[in-house]
């Protein structure tokens, strides 16, 4: 009986069907894990001072969500339900250690500045949230896309916040000075412009995230809750 059932195959879907593209694009905007679901706030406040650090962190999270979603989805039918959360944690932890070791070997300076936050990707709610909510119930390929989408949604927010903070706080972009030399007082600095040190501090990141959420909700009224 069961053998007969297996033979009836679902109509195969193209790799980037409309449904799959939605998985990729929706987390970037209307279902952004940070601004809409308000997950992963802690690290987005801590490591958005400089663009290059935010970029590496964003890529690391994309790698972990995408690969993790794929592995969890592939294992979902053979996984013992009783230790499901433990299996998810082991997969997330293993991927995070892989990222951490590779960063230490190839990008030591950025690895030093990210310090504990790479290790703390394990505790990022986006990861376990996607494993449990999506990968456990869907096939590997859509799960992989969902992972990339959600990771990228997080990364994009990091980059937007870091963009504002690095320009206003350090007067540079990817480490390249924009307004002249702050110490030598050249360019804009010779006219009395100073970098805003408040923007470097974490509370300002929270305010920037708040402004992004405000703008997003004003533009997209479906996100507003009815009272």
């Amino acid at each position: 009986m069961s053998e007969n059932l297996v033979k009836i195959k679902a109509p195969s879907e193209s790799l980037f069907s409309k449904k799959n593209r939605k998985l990729l694009i929706e987390p970037l905007t209307d279902n952004n894990p940070v601004t809409v679901q308000v997950l992963g706030i802690c690290s987005s406040l801590a490591i958005t001072v400089k663009m290059d650090i935010a970029l590496v962190m964003g890529l690391s999270v994309i790698f972990v969500t995408a690969m993790g979603n794929y592995v969890i989805s592939a294992l979902r039918n053979i996984m013992p339900p009783r230790i499901r959360i433990i299996v998810q944690l082991v997969v997330a932890a293993a991927l995070v250690i892989i990222v951490n070791e590779i960063l230490k070997a190839y990008l030591p300076d950025i690895s030093e500045q990210l310090s504990v936050f790479v290790g703390l990707i394990i505790t990022n709610c986006i990861i376990m949230g996607r494993f449990e909510a999506y990968a456990m119930a869907n096939k590997p390929w859509p799960s992989f896309l969902d992972g990339i989408g959600n990771g990228a949604g997080y990364a994009i927010l990091l980059l937007i916040v870091a963009f504002v903070r690095e320009i206003l706080g350090s007067g540079s972009l990817f480490g390249m000075p924009l307004f002249g030399d702050a110490i030598e007082k050249t360019g804009l600095y010779s006219m009395g412009y100073v970098n805003n040190n408040l923007v470097i501090l974490p509370p300002m990141a929270l305010i920037i995230v708040g402004i992004i959420i405000w703008v997003q909700r004003t533009k997209n009224t479906t996100l507003q809750e009815e009272n």
Binding site: M79, P80, V87, A94, I97, A105, Y106
Partner: protein, 247 residues
């Protein structure tokens, strides 16, 4: 074959296979990347030695790419001494021996008695003057702190310093690694020996009367870390003053 996924046997077998696979994968990765990571660590150590010798402006030009060359340019030799100032290694082998001596590991290792620790030192030439760079290690509030102290040609005045820490409180204890705190050790007339060449203790004070030969202002809110720096200096530098007398 249908297997009961709820059964204990299945759960245990699954968990065992998972742990072995993940453990093997991570062990393989760690071993294959170790060489590169160690090389990065050595370059970092060379940069820390240089940062005691060079001014912040000069240090801006030192990056991971040219740290090796800059290190070879400035650091001319090294010695390793014991707690009584007796030479263990110098001359040809001294430079490598000093670099390979891991004082942080010795400080942590409870099996190495305090008087069995070894003390490395680098000699450097800058603008025609001979300088001595001494690595030091100690304990802050939350974890290890370390540094390098550069002693001038008179073998007593502090010509430069750099401090590092693993996880001191940002804004409080972590400020030991910043320029303003280092300047308190460097900018005045700070000397590690008195006129007889004996070590004179540093005192980190709270009342703002620092800035004299052996009195240094601490950091408000970073008392324990500041005292950690004091303890680290007073413990680590003594054998070198004994050694300097023999030169």
């Amino acid at each position: 074959m249908a297997m009961d996924k709820e059964s204990n046997a299945y759960t245990i077998i699954f968990a065992t296979i998972m742990v072995v696979v993940v453990g093997g994968l991570l062990a393989f990765l760690a071993i294959s990347l170790k060489e590169r990571q160690d090389a990065n660590g050595e370059i970092k150590k060379k940069m820390e030695v240089l940062s005691a010798l060079l001014s912040p402006e000069e240090m801006m030009k030192v990056s991971r790419e040219n740290a090796e060359a800059e290190y070879e340019k400035y650091i001319t030799g090294g010695v390793v001494i014991d707690v009584n100032g007796k030479v263990i290694a110098d001359g040809e082998k001294g430079k490598d021996a000093a670099f390979q001596t891991n004082i942080q590991a010795q400080y942590k290792d409870k099996n190495i008695a305090v008087n069995k620790r070894t003390y490395p030192m680098f000699t450097a030439k800058k603008e025609g003057k001979t300088l001595y760079i001494i690595p030091i290690v100690g304990m802050g509030l939350w974890g290890p702190i370390w540094g390098n102290v550069c002693i001038a040609e008179d073998k007593s005045s502090i010509a430069g310093a750099s401090f590092g820490h693993k996880g001191e409180t940002p804004g409080l204890g972590a400020e030991i690694s910043l320029g303003f705190f280092i300047d308190r050790w460097v900018k005045g007339d700070e000397k590690i020996t008195d006129e007889n060449g004996d070590y004179q203790k540093f005192d980190v004070v709270k009342d703002g009367t620092g800035g004299q030969t052996t009195k240094i202002d601490g950091i408000s809110g970073g008392t324990i870390t500041s005292e950690g720096v004091e303890e680290m200096m007073n413990r680590c530098l003594v054998p070198y003053t004994v050694y300097f007398k023999t030169l």
